[in-house]
Symmetry: C2
Subunit: 118 residues, 2 copies
């Protein structure tokens, strides 16, 4: 597949990352997501990484950058569904996800975004 689908749920957008990220796919996702934030007037973005067993520095940076782009467009980003092993690896490798909030799952992520909108 060449694109990661972006699903609209009310004024939120949901992205589920299932495939291994590479440069071009990450750029396509950032292009698509920023366009969709503007087009759909989205207030929040949920990025689900429950399918990822590994988050390396490339994916970490991609997520941070995507969140920064969304932030400039006035949309908050919440990263959801992180596996325990991924959290362990992130801390052990000293990787931080700048400007990205996390929530246990999509439901809690939606709650977090709704609260912060008030």
């Amino acid at each position: 597949m060449e694109r990661i689908p972006i699903l609209k749920m009310g004024d939120l957008l949901l992205v589920t990352i299932q495939v291994d990220m590479h440069d071009r796919l990450a750029m396509t996702l950032q292009d698509d997501l920023t366009s969709r934030i503007v087009k759909d007037r989205a207030r929040g973005v949920l990025i689900d990484i429950s399918a990822l067993d590994i988050v390396d520095s490339f994916i970490g940076r991609m997520i941070s950058n995507t969140a920064a782009m969304a932030r400039i467009l006035d949309a908050r980003t919440v990263l959801v569904g992180m596996q325990p092993a991924v959290a362990i690896t992130l801390v052990e490798l000293g990787l931080t996800l700048h400007g990205v909030r996390t929530a246990l799952n999509v439901e809690k992520g939606v709650q977090l975004l709704k609260q912060s909108a008030d």
Copy 2:
């Protein structure tokens, strides 16, 4: 990736199919989904295929079977995000998706499931 993630949204489950389906992946999805319907007491399942350019008879049958399994467990299935080209191909090939309702996107799918729950 070896699994397709299943996201919980209230009493609905959302599955986004992004990768090419093969036998084992389809079986894993059906196992996971039926378990999750029971565990999460889900009333509906949304299957998003907006990332698929092609739906062949294998995927069509997989979706029909999954919907039939969900139905027995008292959950309705709505297929969302079908690309125009996929609709054309399905009709031209004479493939029918037995027992599966469709909606334009996730939002309309959620509405459809909420209506039918009343």
